[in-house]
């Protein structure tokens, strides 16, 4: 028991006691505590185990800079892995467990791994890729890798709010400088937002001095906050500015309590003032990772913010003047503090889980706690996110903000201004966008960096177990660039992202190479500054809110008819109807459609109108086929290509009038086709003479297909002659249904007589009901998209993207004429005459038949040739045809059109079968049914 709670002081609520458990033992704390401060107050020291060697670890820091104490925390049935103990507020009933250790941080059965450290140095994993064999190590490494454990349960309502906001000035950091800047700006009439990541304002003031500008610290802080608010400024506590993104967007994460997703604010500020303070740097010496070796500044923060004295007999090793106030405060709280000279000789921490002292050269000092500081490092992450430069300061032995990013200024300790009075002056100037007059600097520091070649295991990255010897090894193996060093050793890649390790790492590399530190450079700083849950980024944009299903206007009718609804190309559509098993239902629907008729909801089919005086020339350019010759009232099947000549979409185009066309593109491609048309429309065309309008969602389409289709549509009593002579295949008539415009098209995706009826979506229910009623008279009924897929495959009709791939051209499907004959320019024309397009071995569409009695061929199977099989093609569609009572399939096969009757080898997942090449159309090749 070394740490203890002081009698008074701090921001905690001593009147309330909170109970919690850590590694199975019961402890108490107070509101205002973090898990770390409460455990230290209970005298608990070992709060973690390192990643690789499972070394026992205590806390180094008091806030976001601690790499060691990481817990899985459960509360009221919700469990969150990898919570940093130093930043997780204590809540009554929390059950915390250390990560990466079992059964507890104190007694970890894997602690023995530390004995293997000689063989687990930098680059260990990489070397096993070469010798002896990575696979020998992989299973055990994978078992040991990672930190916290997921319990696999979803936390209910864990959804991050997302807010877009803007202001004149965003001040990041609610310490002395940030408060002064925000107040001055608010008083000058600016719209100010101040963010502070702690639950309360004050920042670094809790580590330095008792009074500010003649006032007690707490009183001064309260006064600034009140004045900012009174002048319209907004203060967000518990809020971290975790990243600066392009165009000055600052991401703010606001804590909302344990197991609740933080709130994301996307803040756009005209100006940003960075008042993020500075961090204590660890000192590099032998066994500097022992529990009880802590940051001097952190010890002061535990004392003044949380009322925790971290040790009784304290030794201090510091090379700088910043810790004087801390030492004074620790003494005043009753600790016995001895200051020692870190330059007196090689330093080594003594003891194991319990620190017993420190040796400096020949000198030995007894202590239970060793507080160290090897200088202050300004927190410049946001500065670097925004593209600001850093300058090396010899005077301060640190990188400080240099050339500023657009609209950003740094003030206070974040700017290397460690003295209070100059920091306040700097803040008040920055509030008005002005630089402060240079002032003196009382901060003094004697450079103290890692010394390569010295003895002992000296930690640089605590969490990832990277030591000075690892850096030396990396340098010997020529990983001397800091970016290589980082990746080879994983230095700086731990959960704290190098907040404690980067400076020591690059100083060590500088010393090894005999270069000054600024010549070695820094690694890239990237958001997020602290870990944030992924939910923060996506917010409510998940599931249906990310990618909503498109819904049919007839969905209630389908549900009433017992449709099995499923997602097809982004639409929720009936796959089939009724309670029977899917294959049986689909088979029955196919047979019904071939015998009497099927009634199909084709509403998702594209209905893109192209209008205007230039419409004809435009569609003629867009289509592979010649459209200019299409007469009003007529329909043509055709392809749209990409400029490389590949098929982009297929479908029919109808001409309603001289200046009006309707494009029926594939249901799943409507958005893409419309965007493509719009791009061409605005590129090189006169957009005032040409309009593209997507009416897909406004018009519903019901198709009646089958031998009885004419009778069923006839029962509607439309003012329309439906006879074959008056209304031939591939024509369109405009009519009227119950006072509403109706388009009737004779097109067929089944090979049977079909009528496609399109009308305003709001009238669709009446039409559907009328057709279903009429159909019932002929034993006809609704069919789903699964039956339609079989019906079209029986006829060899393709689905683009299923029966074609990114290389398929129209000539591969037997549509080679326009390629050779069309005179005017069209999209993809030149692409159809490349060497690849003329290759005689191109894959062409074929049908396949399976031997008598054999099962359906597997979709996706390869058609192979040779002893060492080479794929010559692929099966793209395969069904059992109820109409033909045998399996049918479509495939893309090299030179397929010339191989009718040939037996081919079908290879699928190691199984080999045979099939015979046939024409794509398996049913009614003469087309007699179409004009029946």
């Amino acid at each position: 028991m070394t740490g203890r709670r002081t009698e008074s002081g701090g921001l905690i609520d001593r009147g309330t006691t909170l109970r919690f458990r850590f590694d199975g033992r019961a402890y108490t704390g107070h509101p205002g505590d973090t898990l770390a401060s409460a455990l230290l107050a209970n005298g608990v020291r070992v709060l973690g185990r390192s990643f690789k060697y499972h070394r026992p670890r205590g806390v180094w820091g008091a806030w976001f800079d601690d790499p060691n104490a990481i817990f899985d925390v459960a509360l009221e049935g919700n469990e969150i892995p990898n919570c940093p103990a130093t930043t997780t507020p204590l809540v009554e009933g929390m059950e915390a467990r250390v990560v990466n250790a079992w059964p507890s941080a104190r007694r970890d059965v894997k602690g023995g791994l530390d004995l293997l450290h000689r063989w687990l140095g930098a680059g260990f994993y990489y070397k096993t890729f070469i010798w002896p064999d990575w696979h020998l190590f992989e299973p055990s490494i994978r078992r040991m890798a990672g930190l916290g454990a997921l319990d696999g349960k979803e936390i209910p309502d864990y959804v991050a709010d997302q807010i877009h906001d803007a202001c004149d000035l965003l001040v990041v950091g609610g310490g002395a400088a940030g408060l002064a800047a925000a107040r001055a700006a608010a008083e000058a009439g600016q719209d100010v937002v101040l963010v502070e990541d702690h639950p309360e304002l004050g920042g670094g003031l809790y580590r330095s001095g008792e009074s500010v500008e003649g006032k007690a610290r707490a009183e001064w802080v309260t006064e600034q906050g009140a004045t900012i608010a009174k002048n319209g400024g907004r203060i967000l506590t518990g809020t971290t500015a975790f990243g600066v993104y392009d165009h000055g967007l600052v991401g703010l994460a606001t804590e909302r309590g344990f197991a609740r997703a933080p709130r994301l604010t996307r803040m756009r500020a005209r100006r940003v003032v960075m008042a993020t303070g500075a961090l204590d740097r660890p000192m590099t010496f032998a066994d500097n990772d022992r529990p009880g070796v802590m940051s001097l500044q952190a010890a002061a923060e535990y004392l003044t913010r949380y009322g925790v004295l971290v040790g009784r007999r304290i030794a201090v090793l510091s090379n700088n003047s910043a810790g004087e106030a801390a030492i004074e405060a620790l003494r005043a709280a009753g600790a016995e503090v001895t200051e020692a000279d870190p330059g007196a000789g090689p330093i080594r921490a003594l003891g194991g889980k319990r620190l017993s002292g420190v040796r400096m050269g020949e000198k030995r000092l007894e202590c239970d706690t060793l507080l160290v500081s090897s200088g202050l490092t300004p927190v410049v992450h946001l500065w670097r996110h925004a593209g600001g430069k850093l300058d090396w300061s010899d005077e301060k032995s640190a990188f400080v903000p240099g050339a500023a990013p657009q609209g950003m200024m740094a003030i206070g300790a974040a700017n290397g201004t460690f003295d209070l009075e100059p920091a306040l002056a700097e803040a008040r100037a920055a509030a008005l966008g002005k630089p402060a007059a240079p002032t003196g600097n009382s901060y003094s520091i004697r450079p103290l960096w890692p010394e390569p070649g010295t003895k002992g295991r000296q930690w640089i990255d605590f969490q990832h177990d990277v030591t000075l010897k690892d850096v030396e090894l990396a340098a010997r193996e020529n990983y001397i660039s800091v970016e290589h060093l980082k990746r080879y050793t994983t230095l700086g890649m731990a959960g704290d992202q190098g907040k404690t390790s980067n400076m020591a790492g690059l100083a060590a590399m500088a010393a090894i190479q005999g270069k000054p530190i600024p010549e070695v450079g820094t690694t890239t700083f990237r958001p997020p500054f602290v870990p944030v849950p992924l939910e923060l980024y996506h917010g409510a944009r998940r599931g249906q809110l990310l990618n909503p299903l498109k819904r049919l206007v007839l969905e209630p009718q389908h549900r009433q008819a017992g449709a099995a609804l499923g997602e097809y190309g982004g639409w929720l559509r009936p796959g089939w109807y009724g309670p029977k098993p899917a294959d049986q239902a689909v088979r029955d629907e196919v047979l019904m459609a071939r015998k009497t008729a099927g009634i199909f909801d084709g509403s998702p089919l594209g209905k893109i109108e192209v209008m205007g005086p230039d419409a004809e020339a435009f569609v003629n350019f867009i289509y592979y086929n010649t459209i200019a010759t299409l007469q009003p009232g007529h329909i043509r099947y055709g392809f749209m290509l990409t400029e490389s000549g590949a098929i982009y979409d297929d479908g029919v185009i109808a001409r309603l009038g001289p200046e009006r066309f309707v494009i029926s593109c594939s249901s799943a491609h409507v958005d893409g086709v419309e965007a493509m048309l719009e791009s061409w429309r605005q590129d090189g065309n006169d957009p005032d003479r040409l309009f593209v309008h997507d009416a897909t969602q406004h018009w519903a389409t019901v198709t009646v297909t089958g031998p009885k289709a004419r009778e069923i549509v006839g029962a509607l009593g439309l003012p329309l002659d439906l006879t074959r002579a008056a209304f031939p295949h591939m024509t369109l008539r405009e009519s009227d249904f119950a006072g509403s415009p109706l388009r009737v098209a004779r097109v067929s995706f089944t090979g049977d007589v079909s009528f496609e009826l399109s009308l305003r979506a709001t009238k669709a229910a009446d039409l559907w009901t009328a057709l279903i009623d009429a159909g019932a008279q002929h034993d006809a009924g609704p069919i789903g998209i699964e039956a339609l897929s079989v019906l079209r495959a029986e006829k060899g009709f393709i689905v683009v993207g299923k029966d074609t791939d990114g290389e398929t051209m129209p000539q591969d499907l037997g549509f080679g004429i326009p390629r050779l004959k069309k005179k005017s320019a069209f999209v993809g024309d030149r692409g159809l005459h490349t060497e690849a397009a003329n290759d005689p071995n191109r894959r062409q569409l074929v049908g396949l038949t399976a031997p008598e009695g054999s099962p359906t061929l597997p979709t996706g199977a390869h058609l192979v040739t040779g002893d060492r099989p080479r794929s010559e093609g692929i099966i793209t569609s395969s069904y059992f045809s109820p109409t033909l009572d045998r399996p049918i399939a479509l495939a893309l096969l090299e030179r397929g059109a010339a191989r009718q009757g040939e037996t081919v080898t079908v290879w699928h997942m190691g199984q080999v079968r045979t099939a015979t090449v046939a024409p794509p159309c398996a049913l009614d090749p003469e087309g007699g049914r179409l004009d029946a």
Partner: protein, 88 residues
């Protein structure tokens, strides 16, 4: 996250936009002979400039196609012009 000024809607979030192409390419006249090299250059060659670039973008909600000049290093947007006026 970048803000792009749609000539029709004004400044909007980058997620609403779709990159179409580098600006300044002219489609070869395919009614005459076009060499393999010229067609390949039209289809595949990209300048991919570092610094000032001119690009064609579409604002998906309003479907405006426009030319945007921006700096590919600093991400600064230098201006946008509705496509029909840009002459690109």
């Amino acid at each position: 996250m970048q803000l792009f000024p749609c000539p029709f809607c004004g400044p909007r979030d980058e997620r609403e936009f779709h990159f179409a192409a580098e600006a300044g390419k002219t489609r070869p006249d395919t009614t005459g002979a076009v060499s393999e090299a010229d067609w390949a250059a039209y289809l595949y060659d990209r300048r991919n400039d570092k610094g000032r670039v001119r690009e064609v973008w579409m604002h998906l909600p309003c479907r405006e196609v426009f030319v945007m000049e921006r700096d590919s290093v600093s991400m600064e947007v230098l201006g946008t012009t509705a496509f029909r006026k840009a002459g690109a």
